[in-house]
């Protein structure tokens, strides 16, 4: 099979800080609950950033804004492109959003079809779709699972396939919602190694402070719809009083 221009994501040495830029984002749910009150952040190319905060802090709401599923007041730019109604499809291909529950993410009967879903909907030719599926499954070490049925997989396997389903779109930003929740230690370890190796900019929401400490240089702390801290992980984790104030624990 001829392989047509697969673009493996590459880290660029210089720090382009336009992968993601969110400025003054406000959002309230239809029932009146205020979820985001002026969130601003910037991600640079190659950044791996943890997003922590108590339940209800607005982490998931923020993530759903990054590819335009929710529309709040404020500006979002992905790779220098402003998020508008017209370029939603482009933005969605650039922001790979992995949901917390892999059963929600894997909706096709077979693993292959799920991983092919993104590229197919981008309108890519068949050879390219197949090549991308192979590369994505290789990246999460699940090549032999191609023809398996999703509902026969373990949670850890489903998690990795869920990541492959967005990798196949060659996103410039990977957004993960609580990737280590519900995993046993071995599956968690495999996932951590995978996240470490993936050469993509990523924003990871989590409650797993040990994971934050191990994997991420930079941490963003959210509480009550605001960003209350954004800095080096070691600095943030050193301030125990601050962590306790925002319902977090030192690992």
């Amino acid at each position: 099979m001829p392989i047509t221009h697969i673009q493996k994501p590459v880290i660029q040495p210089e720090t382009d800080c336009d992968v993601l830029s969110v400025s003054d984002l406000h959002f309230s749910y239809p029932d009146g609950h205020v979820a985001l009150q002026g969130v601003s952040l910037k991600l640079c190319r190659g950044d791996k950033v943890a997003l922590v905060g108590p339940n209800g802090a607005g982490k998931s709401t923020l993530m759903l804004h990054l590819n335009g599923i929710l529309h709040g007041k404020g500006e979002i730019e992905v790779a220098g492109k402003k998020l508008t109604k017209d370029n939603l499809p482009t933005i969605r291909a650039m922001v790979g959003l992995v949901f917390q529950n892999p059963d929600d993410q894997l909706f096709s009967p077979t693993v292959f079809e799920d991983v092919a879903f993104g590229p197919l909907h981008m309108g890519l030719p068949e050879d390219e779709v197949r090549a991308r599926v192979d590369v994505a499954l290789e990246a999460v070490r699940m090549t032999s699972y191609k023809e398996r049925l999703s509902h026969h997989l373990s949670v850890g396997e489903k998690k990795r396939i869920a990541i492959a389903t967005v990798l196949s779109m060659n996103p410039s930003l990977l957004v993960l919602d609580e990737p280590s929740a519900g995993l046993d230690p071995r599956a968690r370890r495999t996932l951590i190694n995978l996240l470490r190796e993936l050469p993509i900019t990523m924003l990871v929401s989590t409650h797993d402070m040990a994971l934050v400490n191990e994997l991420f240089l930079r941490t963003i702390v959210m509480d009550e719809g605001r960003i209350v801290a954004d800095g080096l992980t070691q600095d943030i984790l050193a301030d125990e009083a601050f962590l306790n104030r925002h319902g977090l624990e030192k690992p």
Binding site: L64, N67, A93, F107, E113, F117, H121, M169
Partner: protein, 263 residues
């Protein structure tokens, strides 16, 4: 935790397993339609149709009685046709009283009832064999290639994917109820019928709400990967000469059977 009770696919290396899913789906549908079209009491044709079922069973290497055993579960549904026993005019065979009304079984009624029973029994067996020798995703692809509307195939695909998730959900809910259905030592556990019904109603409501919210999350996951109202699939199937031959043979056989049934 996986609940595989609905997975009816049986892995085997057989000619029938290797046949293109389009052929299998098409022949099954034609066979079922042919059964429905056979006149009442076309015994020779029924016999040939049964022979067809038995032969396909043998070719599938699942055993000659494979579909016979599994078809019994569907027979109670054929009892819906029981009213034809009394409603077709003809020579009376027997009369009995039930709830102060008189019911008369006629010979034409009996003939039609038995024919309906045989038709549905043969058709069910073919359908059972179809899902036993075809992987479900292949079957859905086959339906797509046979120009079944995308909305229907999509609904079937989602139903199949989430049946397992929902069964797990039901069992989790039931287990949570069991775990809290204790009793005081010496006393009877559980409340009255009304109370129990209310608990069951709450469970059903919970299941609906959870499914509803899940569908929302799934839709978001689809949107995130570029879904815009149309589903796309790749074509993994090629018709080979063997597939054409099997189609021709099966359809030819069904034609002969129809002709004999109308002699």
């Amino acid at each position: 935790m996986h609940f595989d009770a609905f997975d009816r696919y049986h892995e085997k290396e057989s000619l029938l397993h290797k046949l293109d899913p389009r052929v299998k789906a098409l022949v099954t549908v034609i066979f079922i339609v042919s059964n429905a079209l056979l006149p009442d009491g076309a015994w020779l044709a029924f016999l040939l149709a049964w022979l067809f079922v038995l032969v396909t069973n043998v070719i599938s290497k699942l055993g000659i009685g494979f579909t016979l055993k599994r078809s019994i579960i569907a027979l109670p549904f054929a009892l819906i046709a029981i009213t034809v026993l009394f409603s077709i005019p003809g020579e009376p065979l027997a009369t009995f009283y039930f709830l102060s009304s008189q019911f008369t079984v006629t010979d034409n009624g009996l003939l039609r009832f038995v024919s309906i029973l045989i038709r549905s029994w043969l058709s069910i067996q073919m359908a059972i064999l179809l899902v036993a020798v075809t992987r479900f995703p292949d079957l859905i692809h086959a339906l797509e290639h046979l120009k079944v509307p995308a909305i229907l195939t999509t609904i079937i695909a989602f139903l199949y994917r989430y049946l397992f998730v929902m069964t797990d959900e039901v069992f989790r809910l039931l287990r949570a109820r069991e775990s809290r259905s204790g009793g005081v030592a010496g006393g009877r556990s559980g409340g009255g019928v009304v109370w129990r019904a209310k608990v069951a109603g709450n469970l059903a409501g919970q299941l609906f709400l959870r499914s509803f919210e899940r569908s929302d999350r799934i839709y978001n996951a689809m949107l995130s990967r570029g879904y815009a109202g149309r589903l796309y699939t790749l074509n993994p199937h090629d018709m080979k000469s063997y597939d054409y031959f099997a189609t021709a043979f099966a359809i030819g056989f069904i034609f002969i059977l129809q002709a004999l049934g109308r002699l």
